[in-house]
């Protein structure tokens, strides 16, 4: 019972979340079997899920076809690579800009102009630069997260309580020690929250990039489905995108709650 109490909220959330989805799926199935007129455009789960268990199911045609598992893993790896490079670059950029007021005055307006440009707008240029392939997808993810994360890092550094840095100074910290022992841990929870929000943007960006003709990836499933006029394939792709994205966000949330709790807690 104690265990139940501890996880009470989690259990309630799980029941509510899965409950609503189950209800919607049931309604969808009933509508389709009851002769819904759009059942061809929106084939119900009972139809498209079968695609997954079909061993012969491949994305693409002929020798270039890739399995669903490969597609999922490819998409995840592209997002992770782009996010990772974007995060590291944003930290370096943020620290660089915050080290001197003139750097900030020159560089921040540029970043703020580039940030609102949707990552998919870079696709035409990326295709010319990198061709169709992993590099393009990673580049698009990077463009989708780098500017926002940079702004987040700069802002997070700005709002660090002055006395936190002052107390480190009076305890004998060197400039470098202040950066990595005080400023870095101070901004980590804040930046991670933005990273979580940005993961969703990155996830959307990678799909757009994969629709440019990559052979595998979740975006490629949708594109193949479109080319084959196969709505079952498109819907299955959409479900996979949603479920994988959800699982990924859950992992990020777990990391945040478990290892980066101090921002929230120290405000209490």
């Amino acid at each position: 019972m104690i265990v139940l109490k501890k996880y009470k909220e989690a259990i309630i959330r799980f029941i509510c979340g899965t409950g609503l989805i189950t209800l919607l799926v049931l309604a969808w199935e009933m509508a389709a079997s009851g002769g819904w007129k759009y059942a061809n455009i929106f084939p119900p789960p009972s139809k498209f899920i079968k695609q997954l268990s079909n061993d012969g199911f491949k994305v693409g045609l002929g020798a270039q076809a890739a399995s669903v598992q490969t597609s999922i893993i490819s998409s995840i790896l592209r997002v992770l690579t782009g996010l990772f490079i974007g995060l590291i670059s944003a930290f370096l950029f943020g620290f660089f800009v915050q080290s001197n007021i003139w750097l900030k005055r020159f560089l921040m307006p540029l970043i703020r102009v580039l940030a609102p440009v949707a990552p998919i707008a870079w696709i035409p240029m990326a295709l010319v630069l990198f061709g169709i392939g992993n590099q393009t997808a990673v580049f698009i993810v990077f463009m989708g997260v780098f500017f926002t994360l940079s702004i987040a890092v700069v802002r997070a550094i700005e709002i660090i309580p002055e006395n936190l840095v002052n107390s480190a100074k009076t305890l004998g910290a060197s400039k470098f020690q202040i950066w990595y022992k005080v400023i870095f841990p101070s901004i980590l929870p804040n930046v991670f929250t933005i990273l979580r929000l940005n993961f969703i943007a990155a996830w959307m960006a990678v799909l757009a990039a994969e629709m440019t003709g990559l052979q595998d990836g979740l975006g490629a499933i949708i594109m193949t489905g479109r080319n084959l006029f196969n709505n079952e394939m498109i819907l299955m792709g959409m479900v996979l995108i949603g479920v994988v994205g959800f699982l990924f966000d859950s992992i990020l949330k777990y990391i945040q709650d478990k290892f980066l709790w101090w921002d929230k807690k120290s405000r209490q």
Partner: protein
Amino acid sequence: MIKQEKGITCENLSYSWTKHPGEEDYIFRDVSFTIQQGEFISFIGPSGCGKSTMLNIISGLLAPYDGKVIKDGIEVMSPDKDLGVVFQDYSLFPWLTVKNNIAFGLKLNGKSKNEIDTRTDDILKRVGLWEARKKYPFQLSGGMKQRTAIARVLANNSNYMLMDEPFGALDYQTRLNMQSFVSEVSAEFNKTILFVTHHVEEAIILSDRVFLMSVNQKEKMDELIIDLAKPIDITSSKFNEYRKYIINHLNKEVNF
């Protein structure tokens, strides 16, 4: 000119928030004083008189507009771990446990793990934080947080402890408790303490001398020598004379 004796000497300190101050823009001007090693000095005055600014300048966190601070014969140009500071808002590192907060300064200086452990454990026991050593700051009461902040300075073995309204955010009971704690600490660890407060009784109870700062007279800082037998009897006539003197000083300053 370099002076050799231990202690803090402030020579003609001035401060202003503007770069080219007119007569009115100074927060204080040409203030000089000397603090001997081992003394407990309180700075008291109305808000806006520059108490905290004074402390920040002495700690090296803020550069004076004019004048200089000399500590043990050497001019203070930047923060120095010999001048430990305790802030009103505690400023503990929220991601570190009490023990690691206290060890923070020691770890900066590349001491061995053994040495750091021995020193922090000793401090933890002496300031009554042993039980709380594994807790994080958000799990502590205000008084415990401030104890940790003080212990952090003690662990660093700073000769000087600068305290900027350290008990301003604490409730009455905790405040009394912390007053006796600081009193014990200053005796036991033989620290020179510079203490900013706006609490009259607190200043008298703790200090050897009280510096009275002023908003209207920027070029003068009155000084009151406290000569009371310990333990201090707050009902004694002498205590009340001091109290009256300081309150009169503060009342002259009140501008509504």
